[in-house]
C-alpha cells in the first residue's frame, strides 16, 4: 500500500503539451478520480503513474520510494484498461494467473488466489472460458479480477466502464468500490463521466487541457467550484451561466441580468476585479424556483425567459429556458406544467449564486 506523490510532472508529445507541470498527492488507500473531457490529459497522467509513458519532467513517488525511472513491471501496480486488455488466447484462469506466475509463486498459491478472487467477483464458473466467450460485463469482471488478484499497492483504472451499457455501469460502479474497500490499495480512476466521478471518488481532480483545475471532495466541487469550467463540468444537468451588468446604486453593488437584480454580499464585492463592468453568474438547475409572472414583476428580482425545450423524466422535468442571451436549464417538479414558448420567471436565492470573472473564469464567490 502506498501514497502517490507527483511533483512537477510534465508530459509532452513532440510539440504538444499533454500535461502541464502538475503536483498531486493521493493518500494511502484513497480512491481518487481524474475526470475531464477528451484530451484533458487524465489518461496521460494515469499512464505516467503506471510507468507506461516516460515523464518529460518531474518526479513520481510511491510512499517514500522514487519510482520515476522504475520499470512498469516493478512498480507493484495493477491496471484495468478501457478495452480490458485481456489475453485472447488464454482462459480466464490463465489470464488471472499470468501475472502471478511471473512473480514465481507456487502453483497451489496461485490456484488459491485465482479461485478466491474469482469467487469474489462471481466469475468462478467462467474460469475455463476464453475472453471471446464472455459478455462485456463478464470481461470487465475478469479484467478487474486480474488486477486485484496480484494484491497491488496501486490500482489504476482507465475508463473501465465506458464500454458497458448504462444499467451494467451502475452495477459495476458499486462493485468496483466494494472491491476497492476489500483490497485497500490506493486507487486512481480515470473517467470522462462526471456522474461516475461524483459517485465513486473520495476526492476528484477535474482536468482540462493538461491542467488540474480543482482537486476536492465531490461536495466541495459541487458547492464551491474553483472556476467556471469545473462549475459547468460537474453536475447534471450542468450549471447555467448568465452574463450580468455590474451596477453601483445607493452604495451597494448589484448585478443585473434577464430582468433580475441581485445585491452582492460585501465579501464578494471585495473579491471583484476593480474595473470589471461585466461578470458571469452561475445557477444550478435545482436552485431555480418557478414563480408566476405577476409575482416576478412585483418582486423585481426574477430571471425572465422563454421555454425552449421541456424534458419530462418521470419524477421531475428539465426545462431549457432562453434568457439574457443564454440558455439555462431548470430542474422542476413535474406537476408544474410548461410548454414550449411559455414565458416564465424564476427566483434564485443570492446564497445559491456563483459569480465568475468573465476573463479568467475564476470563481469570485
Amino acid at each position: 500500500m502506498a501514497a502517490i506523490t507527483l511533483t512537477g510532472v510534465e508530459k509532452r508529445f513532440g510539440e504538444t503539451r499533454a500535461l502541464r507541470e502538475t503536483d498531486l498527492e493521493i493518500d494511502d488507500h484513497e480512491f481518487l478520480v481524474l475526470v475531464g473531457p477528451s484530451g484533458s490529459g487524465k489518461t496521460t497522467l494515469l499512464r505516467l503513474v503506471a510507468g507506461l509513458e516516460t515523464l518529460t519532467g518531474g518526479e513520481i513517488y510511491f510512499g517514500d520510494t522514487r519510482v520515476t525511472d522504475v520499470d512498469v513491471g516493478d512498480r507493484d501496480i495493477a491496471m484495468v484498461f478501457q478495452n480490458y486488455g485481456l489475453y485472447p488466447h488464454m482462459s480466464v484462469y490463465r489470464n488471472m494467473a499470468f501475472g502471478l506466475r511471473r512473480r514465481g509463486l507456487g502453483k497451489q498459491v496461485i490456484d488459491l488466489k485465482v479461485r478466491q478472487t474469482a469467487d469474489l467477483l462471481h466469475i468462478g464458473h467462467l474460469l475455463d472460458r476464453k475472453p471471446r466467450q464472455l459478455s462485456g460485463g463478464q470481461r470487465q469482471r475478469v479484467a478487474l479480477g486480474r488486477a486485484i488478484v496480484r494484491d497491488p499497492a496501486v490500482f489504476l483504472l482507465d475508463e473501465p466502464l465506458s464500454n458497458l451499457d448504462a444499467h451494467l455501469r451502475v452495477q459495476m460502479r458499486a462493485e468496483i468500490l466494494k472491491v476497492h474497500r476489500a483490497v485497500t490499495a490506493t486507487a486512481l480512476y480515470v473517467t470522462h463521466d462526471q456522474v461516475e466521478a461524483m459517485t465513486m471518488g473520495d476526492r476528484i481532480a477535474v482536468m482540462n487541457e493538461g491542467v488540474i483545475h480543482q482537486l476536492g471532495t465531490p461536495d466541495e466541487l459541487y458547492d464551491r467550484p474553483a472556476d467556471s469550467f469545473v462549475a459547468g463540468f460537474i453536475g447534471t444537468p450542468p450549471m447555467g451561466f448568465l452574463t450580468c451588468e455590474r451596477i453601483r446604486e445607493a452604495g451597494t453593488e448589484q448585478l443585473r441580468a434577464a430582468g433580475a437584480r441581485f445585491r452582492l454580499p460585501p465579501e464578494t464585492v471585495t473579491a471583484l476585479p476593480p474595473g470589471a463592468s461585466r461578470l458571469v453568474i452561475g445557477v444550478r438547475p435545482e436552485h431555480l424556483r418557478l414563480v408566476p409572472p405577476a409575482e416576478a414583476e412585483a418582486a423585481g428580482c426574477a430571471l425572465q425567459g422563454v421555454v425552449e425545450v421541456v424534458e419530462p423524466l418521470g419524477s421531475e422535468q428539465h426545462v431549457l429556458v432562453a434568457m439574457g442571451g443564454s440558455a439555462i436549464t431548470a430542474k422542476l417538479p413535474r406537476d408544474q406544467r410548461l410548454n414550449r414558448d411559455d414565458k416564465v420567471a424564476f427566483t434564485v436565492s443570492p446564497d445559491h449564486l456563483h459569480v465568475f470573472d468573465p476573463e479568467s473564469g475564476r470563481a469570485l464567490r
Binding site: 503506471a50 513491471g73 495493477a78 459478455s135 460485463g137 496480484r150 462493485e175
Partner: protein, 303 residues
C-alpha cells in the same frame, strides 16, 4: 478478502445477437446462372493443366507422345513413378534437398521476420520507418538482380554448392516480405494487451513470445508457407548457386533430367511434377484460411 459483491445480472454473450436469422432460400436467376457458368469455365481453365499433368503421368511413354493425344489414359500405368524412385535418376536426392532447404529457409525466415516485423510495428525508434521502407524497397527489385552479387558473396564465403548457401539465398527475398506481413499482423494486435503484460511484469521478449506470437499464429503460418512455396518453386537460385547433382533441388533437377535436345520424357516429367506439386497443394489446403487472412491483415488498419 471475505467480502463478496452483488451477483451480476445475466447478459447475452457477445456475438449472440446476430445468431438466429434463418438461411436465405436459394432462388435460380439468369444472373446467377451466368455467374455459375463463368465460374465453371474458369475452374476448367485453371484445373486443366493439373489434370493434364495427372493424366500424362499415368500414360505409357507411347501414349503420352502419340500424335493424336488422348484426354484420359487408355491404359493406366505406374511405370513413370517406378522409374522416378527406382531408376537411374537421383529423384529422391532432389526431393530430400528440396524439403531440407525449403523447410529450414521457412523456419529461419519466420523467426527473423517475426523479430523484424515486431520491431517495425512497435519499435518507435527514429529509424524504424526508414528501415522498414528500405526493406520494402528490396521487394521492388526483380529476383534476378540479386543473383550476381549473391553468387560473388557466396563464392568468397565458400558457400557455393552448400545447403547453407542455398538457404541464405532463399531467405534474402523471403525475409523482407515476411517482415512486412508480420508487421501487418502485429499492428492489428491492440497495444492494451501488450501493456497488460508489461504491467504483469513481462519483458519485451517475454511479451513477444508469450502474448504476441500466440496471437499471430495465422501470420506465422502464412509467412512460413509463403517462404516454403517460394523456396520450393525456386529454379533460378539453385540453378546458379548449386552445380553438384548431390546438392541439387527438384526444379533444376527435373529440368535437367527430363528435357533433352532430341527427346523429352513427358510421362516421367509429369510424374515428377505431380509429386513435386503435392506438398504445396496439401500445405495450401491446410492453411488456406489463415493464408487469406494473412495476406489481407492490416488492410483495415486503424478501423
Amino acid at each position: 478478502m471475505s467480502l463478496t459483491v452483488d451477483k451480476p445480472v445475466p447478459e447475452q454473450p457477445a456475438g449472440r445477437a446476430a445468431a438466429g436469422t434463418g438461411r436465405r432460400r436459394w432462388r435460380p436467376s439468369v444472373g446467377r446462372s451466368i455467374v455459375i457458368v463463368l465460374v465453371g469455365l474458369f475452374g476448367v481453365w485453371t484445373l486443366w493443366p493439373m489434370y493434364w499433368m495427372l493424366s500424362t503421368a499415368l500414360k505409357s511413354a507411347k501414349e503420352a507422345t502419340n500424335l493424336s493425344p488422348t484426354v484420359w489414359p487408355h491404359t493406366i500405368t505406374g511405370a513413370n513413378f517406378h522409374e522416378l524412385f527406382g531408376g537411374t535418376l537421383p529423384f529422391s536426392t532432389y526431393l530430400v534437398n528440396s524439403v531440407l532447404t525449403s523447410l529450414i529457409a521457412a523456419a529461419v525466415a519466420v523467426l527473423i521476420s517475426t523479430l523484424a516485423g515486431y520491431s517495425f510495428s512497435r519499435g518507435g525508434y527514429r529509424l524504424t520507418s526508414a528501415a522498414s521502407l528500405v526493406v520494402l524497397a528490396t521487394q521492388m527489385l526483380p529476383l534476378v538482380v540479386f543473383i550476381g552479387p549473391l553468387y560473388l558473396l557466396l563464392l568468397r564465403a565458400h558457400l557455393l554448392n552448400t545447403y547453407l548457401g542455398l538457404i541464405i539465398g532463399y531467405t534474402t527475398f523471403a525475409i523482407p516480405f515476411g517482415a512486412w506481413m508480420m508487421k501487418g499482423f502485429f499492428d492489428a494486435i491492440p497495444r492494451e494487451i501488450e501493456e497488460s503484460a508489461r504491467v504483469d511484469g513481462y519483458s519485451r521478449l517475454g511479451i513477444l513470445f508469450r502474448v504476441v506470437v500466440p496471437l499471430s499464429v495465422p501470420g506465422l503460418v502464412t509467412t512460413g508457407v509463403f517462404v516454403f512455396m517460394n523456396s520450393w518453386n525456386n529454379l533460378l537460385y539453385p540453378l546458379t548457386l548449386v552445380s553438384s547433382n548431390s546438392r541439387q533441388t527438384l526444379p533444376p533437377g527435373l529440368l535437367q533430367s527430363f528435357s533433352g535436345t532430341f527427346k523429352t520424357d513427358w510421362g516421367g516429367m509429369m510424374a515428377a511434377s505431380l509429386i513435386t506439386s503435392l506438398p504445396l497443394v496439401i500445405a495450401f489446403f491446410l492453411v488456406q484460411r489463415s493464408m487469406v487472412r494473412g495476406l489481407t491483415a492490416g488492410a483495415l488498419a486503424g478501423t
